[in-house]
C-alpha cells in the first residue's frame, strides 16, 4: 500500500513497488542491525536515498514497521542531518536518543548521560548525544567504549525492540560540545517523519492481519467481516492510518525549510502516535480472544507501535508541547493549505 507522494518524486510507481519488494525480502532475510545495514549497503540504498530522500525514507520505514524489524536505520536518518555540524567520524556512529521518561528534555552538559540506544554498540566507534548547554542544544561525540557497562535492555512494553537504556551513564569529561541547535532540530524533524512512517507501517500490518482474520473466521454461518460492528471498526482503523500517512506526506513537503520542517514533523509524529492507539485497539478487538495469546502476532504490533510512539516524543507530550506553544502565541504553521 504505497501512497502517492507529492514531493516531485524521482522514482516512478513501478520502481517504488520494486524497491518495496526488495526491502521486504531484505528484512525477511536479515534480522539483526549489522546484517541489515550491510544488506542495505549492498542494495545501493545510499544512492536511492540521495536521489529521493522522501520516497526512500517512506519505503524503508514502512517496510521496517511492517516487518517489526529492529535495526539502527533511524540513526542514519538523524546522522545525515547531524554530520555536517560534526567533526569527521573516527568510525561508525550511533545516536543516543533522549530518554522517553524525560519527556523531551535533553540531558544537561556535564551531567551523567542518559537516553536510549536502538541496539548494541558492536562495531560502533562513536555515540552522538544531543544535550543542552545554557539553554542551547549541543552535540557531544562520545567514544562508544565509554558506554561499556552503562547499558541495559529497556524491558518495558516491547522487550523485542532490542533497545538499550542508559539510565546513568558516563559523565563525558574532556568532550567539547558542538554548537548545533539547528542541526539537532532538523535531525529530530527527520527522525519524527521516519518514525511516523514506521508507525503507519506497523498499523498497516496489524490491519492486514485483522482483515485477513475477519474474512477467514466464520461464526453464525458467515465471515465475521460481514458483521457491521467488525467492518466499521476496520474502516475506522483504516481512516486513522490514512490520516496519519497524509500528515507525514504533508510534513515532507516542508522538509526543505531551514528548520527542516520541525513543526509539521512534530504534528505528523503526534498524529501517527495517536492513530496507533486507536488502530491497535480496533485490530485487537476484531481478532477476538486470539489477540490475547502469545501465539498470535498481534501483541507484537501493539507493543512495537507503543514503543515507537515513545521515541522522540510520545503523542501526549507532543500534544502538550504544541498546545503550550499555541497558548503562548506561537503561530501554527499551516501543514496543508485549505
Amino acid at each position: 500500500m504505497t501512497t502517492a507522494l507529492t514531493t516531485g518524486s524521482g522514482l516512478d510507481a513501478e520502481t517504488r513497488e520494486l524497491l518495496a519488494g526488495s526491502l521486504r525480502e531484505l528484512l525477511a532475510a536479515h534480522t539483526d542491525a549489522a546484517s541489515i545495514a550491510a544488506a542495505l549497503a549492498e542494495l545501493g540504498w545510499d544512492e536511492v536515498w540521495a536521489g529521493d530522500p522522501a520516497t526512500a525514507t517512506t519505503l524503508l520505514f514502512t517496510e521496517h514497521g511492517r516487518a517489526l524489524a529492529t535495526s539502527r536505520v533511524l540513526d542514519d536518518v538523524l546522522l545525515a542531518e547531524l554530520a555536517p555540524a560534526l567533526p569527521a567520524p573516527t568510525g561508525p556512529r550511533a545516536v543516543l536518543y533522549p530518554h522517553p521518561a524525560d519527556k523531551g528534555d535533553l540531558v544537561a552538559c556535564g551531567a551523567p548521560l542518559r537516553g536510549l540506544l536502538l541496539g548494541r554498540l558492536d562495531g560502533v566507534a562513536e555515540v552522538v548525544v544531543p544535550a543542552v548547554d545554557a539553554d542551547s542544544a549541543v552535540l557531544l561525540v562520545v567514544p562508544a567504549a565509554k558506554f561499556a557497562d552503562a547499558t541495559a535492555p529497556t524491558g518495558g512494553f516491547d522487550p523485542q525492540s532490542g533497545w538499550l537504556a542508559v539510565a546513568r551513564g558516563p559523565v563525558p569529561d574532556g568532550i567539547s560540545p558542538v554548537r548545533a541547535a539547528d542541526a539537532w532540530t532538523r535531525a529530530q524533524a527527520a527522525g519524527r517523519r521516519a518514525l511516523a512512517t514506521e508507525i503507519a507501517g506497523v498499523c498497516e500490518a496489524a490491519l492486514a492481519l485483522a482483515t485477513a482474520h475477519t474474512a477467514a473466521r466464520w461464526q453464525y454461518g458467515r465471515p465475521i467481516a460481514s458483521f457491521q460492528a467488525v467492518r466499521h471498526r476496520l474502516a475506522e482503523a483504516h481512516v486513522a492510518v490514512v490520516a496519519a500517512r497524509t500528515t507525514v506526506e504533508a510534513a515532507w513537503a516542508m522538509a526543505g525549510e531551514p528548520d527542516g520542517g520541525a513543526w509539521a514533523a512534530r504534528i505528523a509524529k503526534l498524529r501517527a502516535g495517536r492513530a496507533q492507539a486507536d488502530v491497535l485497539r480496533h485490530t485487537v478487538q476484531v481478532l477476538g480472544a486470539m489477540s490475547l495469546t502469545l501465539e498470535s502476532e498481534m501483541h507484537r504490533f501493539v507493543t512495537r507501535a507503543a514503543a515507537l510512539d515513545a521515541l522522540l516524543g510520545d503523542h501526549l507530550s507532543l500534544a502538550e508541547a504544541t498546545g503550550t506553544e499555541l497558548l503562548t502565541g506561537t503561530e501554527p504553521h499551516p501543514v496543508v493549505e485549505i
Binding site: H99, P100, A101, K103, L116, T154, G155, G156, F157, D158, W163, A165, A167, A216, R217, W218, Q219, Y220, G221, R222, F227, A229, V230, R281, V284, Q285, G288, A289, S291, L292, T293, L294, E295, S296, M298, H299, V302, A306, A307, A310, D314, L316, S317
Partner: protein, 428 residues
C-alpha cells in the same frame, strides 16, 4: 431483618471470628510507594505459588462447608443449607470484612455456574457424587464450552459424543478453559445430532478430567500469564448417567450455566485491578507525578470517577432489587460492559500520567507495573462474551431490536458453512 436472619448472622460472625482475622479497614488514603506494585487482571503466579493458593482455597471452603456456610442456599439433601438467596449476600458481606483466602478458583465457575447446572439438570448419581464434594472444596469444576471454531457462536461447536452402549465417546478440542489444570471434572458441551439444526443437536456431560484421553495444555497470554488452557478430548468415555439434561437438549442446559453467573456484592469490583483504577488510587497516581493541579488530567479523573461511582450505584441498586425479590434486569450486562470500560480507561489514564516511563523500566515504583494491566485489559472486552455480543444481547432482549437474519438456526448443522473449509460436521 427476620429473627432467622439475625441468628444466621450471629452464627456466621462467630464462625468468621474463630477462623479468620478481620481486615484492616481500608483507608481511602493510598500508601504510595509501599508494598507490591504489580497490578494485573490475570493471575500470573509461578506454579508453586498457584498450587499453594488453590490448596488454601480448598481448605477454606472445607471449613466453611463443615460449619454450614459452604452452600448456604443449596438443598440439604446434597449438602446445602437451604436458606433463601438473601442469606448468600448477607454472608458475603460479612466475609468481606475478614482476611480469607480467595476462593474464586472454586466458586467463579464451579460453585457459581456448574454446581447450579448439575443441580438443575443432573441425574441423581451425579448430584450425590459431586455436589457435596464441590461445595466442600474437594472437587473443582471447569467449563468445556468454547472451541477454536466456536467462540461467540458457541452453538456451532464440533466436539462429538457418540453413544456406545451405556457410555458416550467424546472427541474434540476445547479452548479458553480456565482452571482446567486444577479441575477434577469438566462440564462439556458436545455435538450429538449433526443432522439437526445447531442448537438442537447438543448434549451436555460431566467429564472426569483424569479419564484416559483428556489432555490439558496451557495457553500463553500476551499479558504474560497462562491461566487458560486447551483441552484435547480423544475418545474419552463418559457413562450415560453423567449426562446433564436430555439427549440433544444440551443447549438448554448450557443456558442455565451461562445465566447463573452469580452477582456477588462487590465481586469483580474488589480485585487489585479494580482498586488500581479506583478514584483514590488514580488520585494518588496524579499526586505522585505532580499532576494534581493539571486541569486536563483533573478533568479526565473526574470523568472516570463519575462513571465508576455511577457503576457502583448501578450495582448496589441491582443487589437491592434482587434482595427485594425482583427479577434481574439488564444490569448485569450493563455492569460488565461498564466494568470493562472503566478498567480499560482507568488503566490508560494512569499509563498516560505515568507516561513514557512505561516503555523503559526506570525502576520507579508504581510506573512500569501498569504494563501488565494495560496488556490484559483488552481481555475484558473479549472474554466471557465480547463487547459486540453483549451489545447485541442488550439491543435484542431489552430494546426488542430484530436479530441479524440468518438461516443457521434452522439448517442442519452438517450443512452449515464454517471457517475456510466449507461444510461443518466433521471432527475438529
Amino acid at each position: 431483618m427476620s429473627d432467622e436472619m439475625d441468628a444466621f448472622v450471629a452464627e456466621a460472625r462467630e464462625f468468621l471470628e474463630a477462623n479468620a482475622t478481620r481486615r484492616d479497614v481500608p483507608s481511602t488514603e493510598v500508601e504510595w510507594g509501599r508494598g507490591e506494585d504489580r497490578i494485573t487482571y490475570f493471575g500470573d503466579d509461578p506454579p508453586e505459588v498457584d498450587a499453594r493458593k488453590v490448596a488454601a482455597a480448598r481448605e477454606w471452603q472445607r471449613r466453611r462447608y463443615d460449619a454450614g456456610f459452604g452452600w448456604i442456599t443449596g438443598p440439604p439433601q446434597y449438602g446445602g443449607r437451604g436458606l433463601p438467596n438473601v442469606a448468600d449476600l448477607v454472608y458475603d458481606a460479612l466475609e468481606a470484612e475478614y482476611d480469607v483466602p480467595d476462593t474464586s478458583v472454586l466458586s467463579l465457575i464451579g460453585l457459581g455456574m456448574i454446581g447450579p447446572t448439575i443441580l438443575a439438570h443432573g441425574q441423581e448419581p451425579v448430584k450425590d457424587r459431586y455436589l457435596p464434594a464441590m461445595y466442600r472444596g474437594e472437587v473443582i469444576a471447569c467449563q468445556l464450552f468454547s472451541e477454536p471454531a466456536a467462540g461467540s457462536d458457541l452453538a456451532s461447536l464440533e466436539t462429538t459424543a457418540v453413544r456406545d452402549g451405556d457410555e458416550w465417546v467424546i472427541t474434540g478440542q476445547k479452548v479458553w478453559t480456565s482452571i482446567a489444570h486444577h479441575a477434577q471434572i469438566g462440564m462439556a458441551l458436545c455435538r450429538t445430532a449433526p443432522d439437526k439444526p445447531k442448537h438442537k443437536g447438543i448434549t451436555a456431560f460431566i467429564v472426569d478430567m483424569s479419564a484416559p484421553g483428556v489432555d490439558v495444555r496451557p495457553l500463553r497470554q500476551m499479558s504474560g500469564g497462562a491461566e487458560f488452557n486447551e483441552v484435547f478430548l480423544d475418545e474419552v468415555r463418559v457413562p450415560d448417567d453423567h449426562r446433564l439434561g436430555e439427549v440433544d437438549g444440551g443447549w438448554r442446559v448450557a443456558l442455565t450455566t451461562l445465566m447463573n453467573e452469580r452477582a456477588s456484592v462487590g465481586g469483580e469490583g474488589a480485585g487489585p485491578a479494580a482498586r488500581a483504577v479506583s478514584p483514590p488510587f488514580l488520585t494518588a497516581v496524579l499526586k505522585a507525578h505532580g499532576r494534581l493541579g493539571d486541569a486536563a488530567a483533573r478533568r479526565r479523573l473526574a470523568e472516570l470517577a463519575a462513571d465508576q461511582i455511577a457503576t457502583e450505584y448501578l450495582n448496589l441498586q441491582a443487589v437491592r432489587r434482587l434482595r427485594a425479590g425482583a427479577q434481574p434486569g439488564p444490569e448485569a450486562s450493563v455492569s460488565k460492559l461498564m466494568y470493562a470500560q472503566n478498567l480499560t480507561r482507568g488503566a490508560h489514564f494512569a499509563a498516560e500520567i505515568a507516561g513514557p516511563r512505561l516503555i523503559a523500566d526506570t525502576g520507579e515504583w508504581g510506573t512500569f507495573s501498569w504494563n501488565e494491566l494495560l496488556l490484559s485489559t483488552p481481555a475484558l472486552r473479549i472474554l466471557g462474551g465480547t463487547e459486540e455480543i453483549m451489545k447485541n444481547i442488550l439491543a435484542e432482549r431489552v430494546l426488542g431490536l430484530p436479530k441479524e437474519p440468518g438461516i443457521d438456526s434452522t439448517t442442519p448443522f452438517r450443512e452449515l458453512r464454517r471457517s475456510g473449509q466449507g461444510r461443518a460436521g466433521g471432527k475438529a
